[in-house]
């Protein structure tokens, strides 16, 4: 996916002014948070599971090459094919080639963030394939020609009415549906036809299991299963960091993923696929491919953002992020929104181009508190700011202000004098009113709020005047 047009500021301003988006955000926000809290409360082991999961991921990451090799060997021994793609362009080419060789016309897709990351749909459509998203949310935004705004609920920014409009326009000959159940049913009917026509089915891979050569997807709609079993060719797209050693390890992550993502004990469908259809199998794909995408991940292994590779894409961080809750996912400009995106997007697409993402954060720590694999997201967002500073990206005005403040703050006498002066001026301006409704140079504060005025001389001056303690 190409980065969205505009800046973070322009996109977030648009988001704040969009009443249906704000309505959609109001609807969804409490849902995910409350459901997760309830699910976690019912599993006393949850905190220990988080530790275990983080430890498993760290162990895998410290020998990632070994685990990837084992996984690939196993897949190939089952008759599958593993492709390593260094970047997005390489990944696109590999999948185009698979589709071309298969003589495909229709390509069905299960939800895959990596396919969004590498801009797969655009490439395949350019080649003339009919590309059909089969996840309900992805299907909706495909019809709307919009990018996803959430990694597990891609159409979360759409209200029910908007979806009804969209379906009415795109499903000619059907009466308009208004209810959620009716809309789901309508999508199911439209998609069923496509599944039968599908030549190549592309899914993501939530986890890849080295010991068995298995790819695992979890969905709530079962669309992933239909995508991969009804197509002649199954292609799994996944990041290289998604490999786990054993099925036992998988059980730890499955217990964390659904609870963190949607507050379910488990997703409705957990599907394990190992290789193509074997002789005697009643169904399954004739070909089974796994495209493992690096696209900057191996570089993260050796740097300050390595912990980010533990991410299992549950979306808990954005569900709990108050900034995401205010502006939604499109403001972040690319595939990965919210806290995890504020780290991944600058790493994948450039620190300068995405200057705002790590800065548009209050460092409130709520994301970090819920991350199932204990990624220190808040710390990493601050670290990203530090990388931006080191790269000279802090705007000149802010840099000058920071330098001046840093110097003054190391001259206690001068700092005291300036605080005294500031206090006196603010008090003069406020009179006895207790607050200022405007202040030259501080409109960013006073446009929305009054500024409480200082109570009197500074604390330290008053303290010293009273002779200190007692």
């Amino acid at each position: 996916m190409k980065p969205l047009r505009g800046t973070f500021d322009s996109r977030s301003a648009k988001a704040l002014a969009d009443p249906s988006l704000q309505q959609a955000l109001r609807n969804f926000k409490p849902l995910f948070v409350a459901k997760r809290a309830a699910a976690v409360a019912e599993l006393p082991d949850f905190e220990r599971l988080r530790d275990t999961a983080a430890a498993i991921k760290d162990a895998v990451l410290s020998e990632l090459d070994v685990w990837l090799e084992r996984y690939a060997e196993k897949v190939e021994s089952l008759g599958g094919k593993v492709h390593f793609a260094r970047d997005a362009a390489e990944a696109r080419e590999i999948i185009r080639e698979i589709c071309r060789k298969a003589g495909a016309r229709t390509v069905c897709k299960g939800k895959s963030m990596v396919s969004e990351e590498i801009g797969l749909n655009e490439a395949l459509e350019e080649d003339g394939y009919r590309v059909v998203e089969t996840d309900l949310g992805e299907y909706i935004i495909q019809l709307a020609k919009e990018p996803p705004s959430h990694i597990i609920a891609p159409a979360i920014h759409k209200t029910r009415e908007q979806v009804a409009d969209l379906f009415e326009k795109n499903h000619p000959g059907r009466p308009r549906e208004e209810s959620v159940a009716g809309l789901v049913n309508e999508a199911r009917h439209a998609l069923r036809e496509r599944f039968f026509e599908s030549d190549v089915g592309i899914t993501g891979g939530n986890f890849l299991i080295a010991e068995t050569g298995t790819s695992v997807i979890v969905t709530n709609e079962g669309n992933g299963d239909l995508t991969q079993t009804l197509s002649r060719v199954h292609v799994v797209t996944s990041g290289i960091e998604r490999v786990l050693p054993t099925l036992d390890d998988l059980s730890v992550f499955l217990r964390l993923l659904a609870r963190s993502a949607t507050g379910q004990d488990t997703e409705c469908y957990t599907t394990l696929s190992s290789g193509p259809k074997r002789p005697g199998d009643p169904d399954g794909p004739e070909e089974y491919h796994v495209v493992l995408v690096d696209n900057g991940r191996s570089k993260m292994l050796s740097g300050r953002f390595r912990d980010m590779l533990r991410c299992i894409r549950c979306g808990a961080c954005m569900n709990h992020c108050p900034v995401y809750g205010a502006v939604g996912g499109h403001a972040y400009g690319w595939v990965y929104p919210g806290p995890m995106g504020s780290i991944l997007t600058p790493l994948f697409n450039g620190l300068a181009e995405n200057y705002d993402l790590p800065n548009a954060c209050t460092l409130n720590g709520r994301c970090q508190a819920v991350c199932p694999v204990r990624i220190p997201l808040t710390e990493l967002i601050r670290t990203m700011r530090n990388e931006q500073v080191k790269a000279g990206l802090m705007p000149a005005s802010q840099r000058r202000m920071m330098a001046a403040w840093g110097w003054v703050a190391r001259q206690p006498g001068l700092y005291r004098a300036l605080e005294r002066l500031g206090s006196r001026m603010l008090r003069l301006r406020a009179g006895r009113s207790g607050a200022l409704s405007s202040l030259p140079g501080a409109s960013a504060w006073t446009d929305a709020r009054d500024l409480p005025a200082p109570q009197g001389p500074t604390f330290i001056d008053q303290w010293n005047a009273r002779g200190g303690d007692q």
């Binding site: 108050p322 900034v323 502006v327 601050r382 530090n386 500073v389 190391r410 206690p412 009197g456 604390f459």
Partner: protein
């Protein structure tokens, strides 16, 4: 200068920049409470800032310079205490700013280990009996830094439960950021405005006539927005209520004639 002893530890009170300029009453309240907890309180006159703005902005060089200054000013005390979770959170981060073989690292560790946010200090380290009255129904905003970096949650509630006349009405989303976030509120004012409005809705829904919290930045943000919205909710730092220093104007409130 008195020598420290366990019966009467020497506490260096860190006057946060905002408190020092905008709300000295919090400083005096903190001193009262610390004395009531049997501490001897000193306020180093040459202290300036803990470096939080630089640290949060990712400017580690500037933050390190501030850290060295503050370590020198406060390391002789038995404890460093401040009525702010975010400033103490910054002091607790100091060790990360220095390399392992830097002699400042050990000094940073030592200071971080005895640096406490006021309300948690008064419960977890020194017991204090509260002797205060406040007539009202208050709701509590858990400021993010105190809550998630320092685990300040039950301590203020435990202390406030001893205040005569005070009723606590918890609000929904008490643990959700109010949109202050230091420079965030002026860098992204519209998003911040949306967030503080969400907070105002939660406060209104709680039916409280008073908002309490432990970090002045958040309180000024919320009080400023409440006043702009014409809401009649009074805003105090928890220390002011605990010390019984609530005779004057609350934060952002007009002075009595």
């Amino acid at each position: 200068m008195t020598h420290s002893n366990r019966a009467q530890p020497r506490v260096g009170l860190m006057a946060t920049c905002l408190m020092n300029v905008f709300r000295p009453n919090i400083g005096f309240s903190a001193a009262d409470l610390l004395r009531a907890a049997g501490c001897r309180v000193e306020v180093p006159s040459d202290q300036t800032c803990c470096g939080q703005p630089a640290y949060s902005a990712g400017d580690d060089d500037a933050a390190r310079a501030m850290a060295r200054q503050l370590i020198e000013q406060f390391e002789a005390f038995d404890y460093l205490v401040s009525p702010s979770g975010s400033c103490i959170g910054t002091v607790r981060k100091y060790p990360q700013l220095f390399a392992d073989d830097d002699p400042w690292q050990a000094r940073a560790e030592a200071l971080a280990a005895k640096a406490y946010e006021l309300l948690s200090f008064l419960v977890d380290v020194r017991r204090v009996a509260i002797d205060a009255r406040y007539q009202g129904k208050a709701t509590y905003h858990d400021s993010c830094s105190g809550l998630r970096q320092l685990g300040v949650k039950r301590q203020p509630r435990e202390l406030l439960s001893q205040v005569e006349g005070l009723e606590i009405a918890e609000m929904d989303d008490a643990e959700v950021c109010c949109g202050f976030g230091g420079s965030f509120c002026v860098k992204y004012p519209k998003i911040s405005e949306k967030m503080v409005d969400d907070k105002l809705k939660s406060i209104a829904a709680s039916g409280a006539d008073t908002l309490l919290g432990g970090d002045l930045g958040c309180l000024m943000n919320i009080a400023g927005r409440l006043r702009r919205a014409g809401a009649k909710v009074r805003v105090w730092h928890t220390a002011e209520v605990l010390a019984g220093r609530t005779d004057g104007a609350a934060i952002g409130e007009e002075e009595a004639r």
